[in-house]
């Protein structure tokens, strides 16, 4: 085995040993984001507002087309405007 492979092998083996004995509590500091919770479940229900098929709305849906500018949390993201390059 090459020197690098020996180093990698022992690092991996040490990781396996450490992970076997590591308390589950260590996961709490693991920089993990839980994202949905159960609120996300069942979102494929037919979640259509009844008004859209009530016959009263015969106009096309409003899309704000070209007039629209983003108006959300993006105001909080700073320092990178127009840096597409």
């Amino acid at each position: 085995m090459t020197k690098t492979r020996i180093a990698i092998a022992s690092a991996l083996a040490a990781a396996v040993t450490a992970a076997v004995v590591l308390p589950v509590a260590a996961q709490a500091q693991s920089n993990m984001e839980k994202c949905y919770g159960i609120s996300k479940a069942g979102k494929n229900d037919c979640q259509t507002a009844s008004s859209s098929c009530a016959g009263t709305s015969k106009k096309d849906a409003q899309t704000d087309a070209w007039l629209s500018v983003p108006k959300g949390a993006c105001e909080k993201i700073v320092g990178g405007k127009l840096t597409t390059g």
């Binding site: 990781a15 992970a19 108006k71």
Partner: protein, 260 residues
């Protein structure tokens, strides 16, 4: 002149996504509600339903740009891509690429990466958890064989590599987030998106870990992946990173993984 069924269906699909089809209107019988108006009800219904489905799948994109701009994006996307199957949760796979190419969204260069993150969370949320690789599964394998193993990510899991701090952007976009700003200059992020119990989750990786996981996801051996990690980040600590990922159950326990 009635249209043949396939032509009628194609005309209807085109009409509901905003392309007016006079030949279709001519096929519809109007009474107190004109044929035109009847068709607009369907158009509205389709656009509203699909827009709502996209908003449910891409909640962070919508939070970032607001409902009005999101509807514009959704409507533009729908005109190009209708669902190819009946499960609304599977609609929108092409949406991140659409956002990346969208002219008005160019001012928000991180938006497409956020769309990829939302999509990855959606996919993994609807994937089975599967059995995960535990450290104990590897404990019986001789150390010199470990570098030769190829281990894979769990089903549905994915790695999102962004030039932007998308974990912070994601956090700032959640309901109830603080008003603190996020500096785009904070730089790149790698996120490993995977299912955890009943939830979808992501793990923030550093540059070395990101290169390591990316290589494993491409089917490379642990040895090659370790070398990729070290070349991406000279300070990459293989032992700590691998222990952390094993503890987080970030790999699948497939037979293939254990046989190397």
């Amino acid at each position: 002149m009635p249209l043949a069924l396939p032509d009628l269906q194609a005309a209807f699909a085109a009409h509901v996504t905003g392309r007016d089809r006079a030949d279709l209107v001519a096929c519809i019988v109007g009474d107190t509600i004109s044929a035109d108006a009847r068709l607009r009800i369907y158009r509205h219904h389709v656009s509203h339903s699909l827009s709502a489905a996209l908003a449910a799948t891409f909640p962070t994109v919508q939070a970032l740009v607001g409902e009005g701009f999101f509807r514009t994006l959704a409507w533009g996307f729908m005109a190009q891509t209708l669902p190819g199957q009946p499960v609304l949760a599977e609609y929108g796979a092409e949406f991140p690429a659409f956002v990346a190419a969208d002219e008005p969204a160019r001012d928000l260069p991180y938006l497409a990466d956020i769309a990829w993150l939302d999509w990855a969370l959606n996919v993994v949320f609807h994937s089975p958890e599967g059995r995960r690789l535990a450290a104990a599964d590897l404990a019986g394998i001789a150390a010199e064989r470990l570098p030769l193993l190829s281990i894979s990510l769990p089903e549905g899991a994915s790695l999102i590599r962004s030039r932007y701090p998308i974990d912070r952007i994601w956090n700032a976009s959640q309901p109830g987030a603080s008003a603190d700003t996020v500096d785009l200059g904070a730089g790149r992020t790698d996120l490993l998106v995977l299912r955890r119990g009943d939830d979808a989750a992501f793990i923030v990786l550093d540059a070395g870990e990101g290169a390591f996981v990316a290589a494993l996801a491409e089917g490379m051996s642990l040895e090659t992946a370790a070398e990729k990690g070290m070349s991406a980040e000279p300070a990459f600590d293989l032992s700590t990173a691998f222990a952390r990922l094993l503890t987080l159950k970030a790999f699948a326990a497939s037979q293939h993984n254990l046989e190397g």
